[in-house]
């Protein structure tokens, strides 16, 4: 039975409560008595709190509550620590709005009544227990529970991880939504979410969504600031935006300027091989040439002429300053350049081969050289 398993797991938690309530006052069934007696006699406060996953203050409070309940002489106690909190807390205890938990709690109290139908060992009649538990169930949704742990530890361990996880989620949610919050400590004890806003801010869903949206925009603005040079020193979003707009406009103007220069430089829009060579060598020097880029660029035409290839290799314009010239290539190209720098120009201008083909031939070799 899962009850037995759960009780065994929570031995530490049951210890002090059991002591507080007193085993003698309990009239338990045989099996329950066995369970209770097998529980370890005493527990240090540290392990108790560790078991409950509670900060020590809450545990102390819990103990306090259970101590006070012992005077009421728990009637229907299972393991000595469930029912007393259940009906003695009454107005103070609230359970998390977990239907499974509630059902279990109800079941425990029901079982307790079954066990002790004939026993009149306390002030509260047995019939009051179900009503109490139901009343408590009603009170679940309204009252924050400072002793949610009481209910939690009563639940068998397979559920416990769920519950504690959920509580942690609640806490996380609550914590994340309360940054500058003077009542943050209270929130941590709450089992479910009262989303506390920051000081002086509303909590309705609209403003929350607004806040999330604003945070998104601010994050992206930061990204843009890093991108645009000279924007991190500026304070204020408006000026940063202006700077970004200026940057975009300047880039677009640069494109236009360069396209005009390109049109002017080349009298014919007849891009032949040396242009390909120039640019592609530069790009190759700059970074690694990806195979995928090759595949998508070059169609599969296999016109290979060794002469054209030879021409390409020889015509190697000196790369502009911004390209780091790799040491591996330099001696090779440099030598060839010295030899045949000027004479093949005219040949190349006349050559009107397919752009794609020659570059396809070129790249594998160049890549090999670089590697």
């Amino acid at each position: 039975m899962d009850l037995t398993g759960g009780f065994g797991a929570r031995s530490g938690g049951a210890g002090p409560c059991r002591e507080a309530i007193g085993l003698e006052s309990l009239h338990l069934g045989d099996e329950f008595r066995q369970l209770v007696t097998t529980l370890p006699p005493d527990n240090a406060g540290g392990s108790f709190t560790a078991l409950l996953e509670l900060p020590s203050t809450q545990a102390v409070e819990l103990l306090h509550f259970t101590d006070s309940s012992s005077s009421q002489a728990a009637v229907t106690a299972i393991g000595g620590d469930i029912a007393p909190p259940l009906h003695s807390f009454g107005g103070t205890l609230t359970f998390p709005s977990n239907p499974v938990l509630l059902e279990r709690a109800a079941r425990f109290s029901v079982i307790a009544t079954e066990q002790q139908n004939g026993n009149v060992s306390g002030e509260t009649p047995t019939s009051s227990v179900p009503s109490n538990s139901s009343a408590n169930l009603d009170r679940v949704k309204t009252e924050p529970a400072e002793t949610d742990s009481a209910v939690e530890k009563q639940v068998p361990s397979p559920n416990q991880t769920n519950r504690s996880g959920k509580r942690k989620d609640f806490e996380k949610k609550v914590k994340s939504s309360t940054k500058k919050n003077k009542s943050s400590e209270e929130n941590e004890k709450l089992p479910y979410v009262h989303v506390r806003a920051r000081r002086g801010q509303a909590t309705d869903s609209h403003s929350l969504a607004e806040r999330a949206r604003r945070e998104k925009i601010n994050a992206r603005m930061k990204l843009l600031q890093e991108l645009v040079p000279g924007c991190d020193k500026i304070q204020g979003t408006a000026l940063v935006l202006d700077e970004i707009i200026n940057h975009v406009q300047s880039l677009q103007r640069q494109v236009e300027m360069l396209s005009m220069r390109l049109a002017a430089v080349n009298p014919r829009i007849d891009f032949n091989l040396d242009t390909i060579l120039a640019s592609e060598n530069g790009s190759l020097m700059d970074g690694s040439f990806s195979g995928t880029a090759m595949q998508l660029a070059w169609p599969h035409q296999a016109i290979e002429t060794e002469q054209s290839f030879h021409h390409h290799r020889q015509l190697q314009p000196p790369p502009p300053q911004q390209w780091p010239f790799e040491g591996l290539n330099q001696p090779v190209w440099g030598r060839e350049e010295d030899q045949t720098h000027g004479n093949d120009h005219s040949n190349l201008m006349a050559v009107s081969e397919n752009v794609m083909v020659d570059s396809a031939n070129l790249h594998p070799n160049q890549v090999k050289m670089e590697l």
Binding site: R213, K216, I217, A219, R220, M221, L223, L224, E226, L227, V228, A238, L241, D242, I244, I245, H247, V248, Q249, L251, Q252, Q254, V255, E256, L258, S259, M260, R261, L262, A263, A264, V265, N266, R268, I269, D270, F271, D274, T275, I276, L277, A278, S279, E280, G282, S283, L284, D286, G287, S288, F289, S290, A293, L296, A297, P317, P320, Q322, W323, V355
Partner: protein, 156 residues
């Protein structure tokens, strides 16, 4: 050129991808109108500029970016080609209604940005910023490529 932010992805391909696309478009240009077009520098410049933008949009990721899609759509419209990409559902209504209402105010920074970035008219502000970041990266890459070309081509 990977971005450092792990939630917002503004990766941009390497320089050679841009170079290849640009050169492809340029060679297409040359094969288009060999002899029956006015050969003025301005006309060629405009053609080259359009080719540059289109190739940039293609290199930067075709239809995976809103601005590139808008650019390519615009270019296709100019060529009287109908090119349509699969559109995702866009949250348009809220933004547009707010813009109409406040049309009288001076063009704000975000509005100016919308005018600059292609396709920025109907984007949310956060999406606009993402697209702007990617657009800036691609633009600077394209500028580098073109600069290299010009330097390589210019007579020494």
């Amino acid at each position: 050129m990977a971005s450092s932010d792990k939630t917002i992805n503004t990766d941009v391909p390497e320089k050679d991808v841009f170079a290849i696309h640009f050169l492809q478009s340029l060679s297409n240009l040359t094969t288009q109108n060999p002899f029956n077009s006015p050969d003025t520098t301005n006309y060629r410049a405009r053609k080259i500029k359009k080719a540059a933008y289109v190739s940039m949009a293609k290199a930067a990721g075709g239809s995976s970016r809103l601005w590139s899609r808008a650019l390519l759509g615009r270019a296709a419209k100019e060529n009287n080609k109908i090119v349509r990409f699969a559109r995702r559902k866009r949250k348009v209504t809220w933004k547009i209604s707010s813009k109409r209402r406040s049309d009288q105010r001076a063009p704000e920074a975000t509005d100016r940005l919308r005018n600059l970035v292609p396709g920025g008219g109907t984007m949310e502000t956060s999406k606009l910023m993402e697209e702007t970041a990617h657009y800036i990266k691609c633009l600077s890459m394209q500028v580098k490529v073109m600069q290299c070309l010009v330097d390589g081509l210019s007579p020494k």
